[in-house]
Amino acid sequence: MHIPDGYIGLETAVPFLGAMIPIWRKALQKIKTTLKRKHIPVLSIGAAFSFTIMMFNVPLPGGSSGHAVGAVLLAILLGPWAACIGVSLALIIQALIFGDGGIWAIGANCFNMAFAMPFIGYYTYKLLKGNAEHFSKRAVFAAAAAGYIGLNAAALLTAVEFGIQPLLFKAADGTPLYAPHPLWVAVPVMMFEHLLIAGPIEGAVTALAYLYIGKTNPELLGVKGQKNIGSQMKEGAAV
């Protein structure tokens, strides 16, 4: 889903960079007011986390593989603005160091995976969870659906960005200047893969990781953990 340089024209890449600048600024402000200086390491380490799990290719039956982005999981656990910064950092490092995604295309990639994905995922989670408690069955379902919908929204945006290239930018003889596939090819191909394969993986990974954190460290979302060891021992002694 990472867009390299050359797939989209500068005419598309630059406006996305322009759109991301106020978003990043707003995210930094939000973080400064809500998270304070203490959270600088939290976010950088969150980014390192997101980067690392993009490397966790989950094996698929049939030999292929897909990877999770983790943007929705970060959004649920740290809030969408923090997730936006965290995933952006991971994407920038990928673009600079590994050539995975272009340098000019950083704006478009961050818009898809670091802005649209965590926000859509986060509000899907909020909406579906409703008043249910954290880590309840309904909340776990909401996390799975949020991961699925968030990833597919990002994939759809990417496909549309590819698909409008041949419509907008063509040489005089009809040669497409950038990505050559029109919308009717780019969207179905991208969505087929993400609706059926990568989406369910992101959903499952989001929900299972969420469940794992619920079991082991629920304080992270402000939920009190199961009775502490002291009280468990007392109960044990009573039996």
Binding site: P4, D5, K32, L77, I85, I97, A171, P176, A209, T216
Partner: protein, 313 residues
Amino acid sequence: MSKTNVIPQWLLESDVSDFQVSRAKVNKNRKSFIEKTLAQLSDTIQNEFLSEIYAKKDGLLQKLDPRVKFVSFVLWIGFATLTGNITVLVVMYLSTLLLLFLSKLPILKFLKRIWVFMPVFTALMVLPAVFNFIVPGEPLWVIYQFKQPTHLFGLQLPELLAVTRQGVKAGVMLILRVSISVSLGLILTVTTPWARLMKSLHLIKIPGIFITMLDMAYRYIAVFVNRSLEMFEARKTRTIGQLTYSSNKQFVSNAIGALFLKSMHFSENVYMAMMSRGYTGQVETLYPFKLSKLDFGWICSIILFMTLLYIVS
């Protein structure tokens, strides 16, 4: 005689069949795809990026001012995206090879790294676009001529199936562009020490706090890749036989959750460590930036090169 000196009967019995079964499974138990990716990544990060072996070489690009290098490379990539002339793109690609040579980088190793992933992937992606039903245009090579207009599921198919000139041109252009930008990006980052690259980002008005986070994230990627590798290894050493697909999936998800918790725990410790060493939110690097004659020479030659290419196209 105490009982402890007697070897129990079940330990003396040899169960040959069981042994053979487990041997067979151990032989089959190869490294998983994730483990391979992580191991490779960890190797690259530690041996090449963090040790900065290429940035320490005595080449042309290593001597340039990082700000000049950063801006000129980004503009160069932008130029490759703007131009639609294949000759110009080929010349630009050849010039990246020259840069590899001038910076004393191992050319074959870098060619392998550049070409194995992105351009090959791009080639696969653009392959269907050479046909006329995606990019209509002049037929270059007619594959099949239908006798009459064919209908399939209510759609009218074109009368011939052909590879078009426009489609091939678009594909070649895209592959060249991707290889140019991947090469330039890689050359830029391997010839510049990371700390200096980050400092040059100040130039384009990126807030300091953002750069600090970018810097830390870069350092901790190596730590987390290693930690996750350890998780996989720890599980493997405790595993006998084959694992099912669902238990693998469960494990990967749990590993992600565990990694998240570890990272949160870790960040608290890092913060305290930073505070105790006098962290105030400002970051200083030891090298002051200075423009040399070489930098001006580089700027002039880049401008000349791009103007020439622009005139040609």
